[in-house]
Subunit: 238 residues, 2 copies
Amino acid sequence: MPNKGFDTRCLQIDAIIYPCMDQLDFTGPFEVLARLPDSKFRVLWKGKAPVKDWAGLILTPETSFDEAPQLDLLVVPGGHGQQQLMDDATTLEFIRKQAAGAKFVLSVCTGALVCGAAGLLKGRHATTHWSVHHLLKYFGAIAVDARVVTDGKLVSTAGVTAGIEGALRVAALLRGDRAAQEIQLAIQYAPQPPFASGDPKTVPADIFDACREAVHELTEARLVSARRTAKQLGIEDA
Amino acid sequence: MPNKGFDTRCLQIDAIIYPCMDQLDFTGPFEVLARLPDSKFRVLWKGKAPVKDWAGLILTPETSFDEAPQLDLLVVPGGHGQQQLMDDATTLEFIRKQAAGAKFVLSVCTGALVCGAAGLLKGRHATTHWSVHHLLKYFGAIAVDARVVTDGKLVSTAGVTAGIEGALRVAALLRGDRAAQEIQLAIQYAPQPPFASGDPKTVPADIFDACREAVHELTEARLVSARRTAKQLGIEDA
C-alpha cells in the first residue's frame, strides 16, 4: 500500500475506556483504526479489571496508563461516565501529557468535555454531542456545528456514531486518503439512515424535545462541571 | 413513550459473540437495541469466558446458550470467525431453535452466512457484506443489493456499519417508528461519510480491486463452506 509522504513507522493508537462510558464512542473508532496499516491499537484504563459501559457491555482494558508508551493518537470517548472524569486528576494528567506528544487526539461525543477539562479545547475549534454543544465555550473552545472538526492536533466529533467518521478522517491524516478509503469500503460505510431524525436540525420537534428532556438532569450536571472547569482554566466570558 | 399497537412486554434481545468475529457487527446493534424501551439485551456465547474479536478486542458474554430464554430478537454478527460456526452444530442448532420462536433474527454482515448454514435464508430475500454477496444463492436466498432487507422475521444487513441501520429498522418494527427515531437522535446518526468509498458501486475501481484481493483467500474459503451447506440443505441451482 503506497504511503508516500506519510510516516510508515508503527503507529501507537490507544483509546481510554471507563465505567459508564458509551461503548460505540470507542468501538466505532476501534473498528476503523484497528484496520490502519502499520499500527497497534491498545485499550487503556487505570487498571486492567473489566469495566461496564452505561448499558452494561463488559469491556476489558489491556494496558494501564502506567504502561502506555507515548502515543501517536489518543481516542477519548464519551458517555454518562465522563462526568466522573471531569475532576479525575490521574486521567486528566494522562490525557494532558499524552496530548503534548501525540500527533492527534480524537474526542468522540462528550469525550470532548473530558478533553476540555484537561485543557485541550482552549482556543480550539471543536464539536461534541448536540445535547452539550452549548457547553463547549466553558472550556475555551470555539464551538462549530459539524460532525467532525479538525483544529491542529485536536479532532473532535459530534455524538456517538460520528466517531466512525472522525476515525476515518484521522486515518486519512495518519496514513493517507487511500488507506482510509480502503477501510471505509471494508466496513461498507455508505450509510442510508432509516429516518431523518439523527440531527437536531432535521428531527421532528416533539422528538427533539423528548430526547432533550430525557437527558436534562445529566445536561444540568454537565453544566455545573463545565462552569467549575471554566473557573479552573481561567476562561472568561463563559 | 407511546407504544400504541406495539407489544409493551419486556423484550428479550440477545446477540451471539464468538472468537474472531467483527466487533462492530455486534456493538453497532447493541448501541441501538440496548436503548429500546422495555427490553433486556444479553450477550451470548457457549460459555462465559471472554473472546477476542479478529482485531483483538476483548468481549465478555454474560449468558450461555443453555441459560437463554426464548428470545424476541436474536442478533447474529459476522467476521472472519464466522467460518468456524458454519459446521458448529451447537451454535447452528441454537440459532435454528431460537429463530423458530423469535419475532426477528437480525443478521449483520457475514452473520448472514451463519444464518444460512442454520437454514434460515432458504427462500428469503437477504443481503450481506459485498465481498460475499454472490454466495447468498448457496443458502437458497434471493440476493438483494440493499443495506437492509426485511423478509418475514429475517432482517439482514450489508457489511459491518449497516448493522446500525438494521438495528434501527428492527427497533421500529418492535417498538414503533418514534422509539427508533428517538434512538437515532440520541446516537446522532446523521452520517456524512468522508469519502464515497463505502460502496462497491461508488468506490474507485483500484481501491475496490485492492480490497477484494485482500480478502480473496477468505472469500474462497467461504465459497467452499457455502457449497458444502448447499449440499446439506439440498439447494439446487447453486
